[in-house]
């Protein structure tokens, strides 16, 4: 299970990359593997400013739909349009080409409730 060190992880299996006030959000390798075939990613919150833990979209696997939770308060600025025709990118490259949204973060970003790669790994082991 791949777990890049430079990311923050949420208990809901999203990852967050922080570059200044820009955040990139996706789902973890563990999550994509649990969901199996991703067939549709629906983000209907573009342009909205949402609280941490708010639902910003839905990810549909062959079997079921799951909510996507925002790890930190932010404004949803950009959706990965490639997922419209290639939702399987989330399975193939969850931390790279399978990113889901770019957001504008509220600085300073409070990441105290998020997990490190090691903490997230411990969570998924159970």
């Amino acid at each position: 299970m791949e777990l890049p060190q430079n990311l923050f992880y949420s208990k809901d299996h999203e990852w967050l990359k922080i570059e200044d006030n820009v955040g990139t959000i996706g789902i973890t390798d563990f999550a994509q593997s649990e969901l199996s075939d991703i067939v549709y990613v629906d983000v209907n919150s573009l342009g909205k400013t949402l609280d941490g833990n708010a639902i910003f979209g839905t990810i549909e696997a062959a079997k079921a739909a799951s909510d996507l939770f925002l790890p930190v308060p932010a404004t949803i600025e950009k959706f990965n349009e490639n997922l419209n025709n290639h939702p399987e990118l989330v399975n193939k490259d969850p931390y790279g080409e399978g990113w889901i949204v770019k957001v504008k973060l509220q600085v300073p970003v409070d990441t105290s409730h998020l997990l490190t790669a090691e903490q997230y790994q411990a969570l998924t082991r159970n």
Partner: protein
């Protein structure tokens, strides 16, 4: 908490690192690698499903036919040895207790019933109760019976060399009892839940039967194992009902579109109510629908008319790997059930456009 049961093939699933989930009291493989890839492989070639969790009962004795005529909706008198029939058990209110397949082993005297795993206990009690006063004996052989569904357009060609007959000559819903690799008395049935062609193999779990057949199919013949996830999407593309979704104790066979197996040339439990319902007309009906955009309909979502009024709900939905669009089965008010009707599906509080379409979807 009840402990989950394992089929005789569990160790194979586990060795293949299948995603395993509880289903009807069993630990069953949902997928091995990918539901979509498994789905497509069955449609295009072949796949093996372990469905040994299903239930099998033997009804035998002089009044077996009479009992089956009383408790099932289809006409069992047309069955001869070697023929099988899709049917339903229904209750006094004409609600579906279970859907099942009846295999005629000896005319009038010996039949095998194949029932849903989740309904084994309920069906058994119901049949036992109805059998009082009939000269029959009932045996539940579910635990000792293995069932592998070998499905797909290439199955006939792959399996025939191992049989003493040509599978291509076996008509749909017919079966033969034959040996494969020295395993005796395998029921080889031209049935299935995928609409992709192929057979279902029933055999006794004894000696190394299970391992022998599994290895023949998956190793020698290179037919990949397929999980319950693809089984569900395959049956949904064909519009087949799944108990607990399209069928339940409060839905009648007529509402579920099973009028074609409901035979009024005989009396059976619930037949009077069904006759009345047929005459009066049903008020809700099972329909197929697909989405006109990219969204995916799921079980429980409401169906809406143009005014936003709830007119029904979805019982099963998925993304069709073959059509590449969202498809669903659901019950809808009869006024909106006409083919090509435009309706909407409430998906996360948005009315998404959909259309009622003819089944099967593919």
């Amino acid at each position: 908490m009840n402990t989950l049961k394992k089929t005789p093939f569990y160790n194979f699933h586990s060795a293949l690192q299948a995603k395993i989930s509880p289903f009807a009291g069993y630990e069953m493989p949902v997928y091995y690698n990918s539901i979509v890839a498994e789905h497509n492989h069955v449609r295009q070639a072949a796949g093996v499903f372990d469905v040994s969790h299903m239930g099998e009962f033997i009804i035998e004795g002089a009044q077996s036919l009479q009992l089956l005529q009383k408790i099932t909706i289809n006409d069992v008198s047309v069955l001869i040895p070697g023929k099988a029939q899709y049917s339903c058990l229904i209750n006094e209110q004409a609600g579906v207790i279970d859907d099942l397949i009846i295999y005629c082993l000896v005319a009038s005297e010996r039949y095998m019933l194949v029932v849903n795993a989740s309904n084994i206990i309920k069906d058994w009690h119901w049949i036992e109760k109805q059998a009082l006063g009939f000269d029959v004996s009932l045996t539940n052989i579910s635990e000792e019976t293995c069932l592998l569904a070998v499905q797909g357009p290439k199955v006939t060609q792959l399996l025939t060399p191992y049989l003493n007959f040509n599978l291509a000559d076996l008509p749909y819903y017919h079966f033969k009892i034959a040996n494969i690799l020295g395993i005796k008395d395998i029921i080889i049935s031209h049935t299935g839940y995928t609409g992709a062609g192929g057979v279902e193999l029933y055999f006794k779990n004894e000696a190394d039967n299970a391992a022998k057949l599994w290895n023949l199919l998956t190793k020698d013949l290179q037919i990949p194992p397929i999980g319950l996830g693809a089984r569900d999407s395959l049956r949904l593309e064909k519009g087949y009902c799944l108990y607990g979704h399209e069928l339940n104790d409060n839905i009648t066979p007529l509402e579920a579109g099973l009028g074609w197996i409901t035979k009024f040339n005989k009396d059976f439990i619930g037949s009077d109510i069904l006759k009345q319902q047929k005459q009066a007309g049903v008020t809700q009906k099972l329909v197929g629908l697909w989405m006109l955009d990219k969204s995916i309909p799921r079980q429980g979502y409401h169906l809406l008319n143009a005014a936003g009024t709830v007119i029904g709900s979805i019982t099963s939905g998925t993304m069709s790997p073959i059509l590449q669009k969202g498809i669903a089965l659901g019950y809808v008010d009869i006024a909106y059930s006409k083919l090509e009707s435009s309706i909407f599906v409430n998906i996360r509080n948005q009315a998404m456009p959909a259309q009622i379409v003819k089944l099967p979807f593919v």
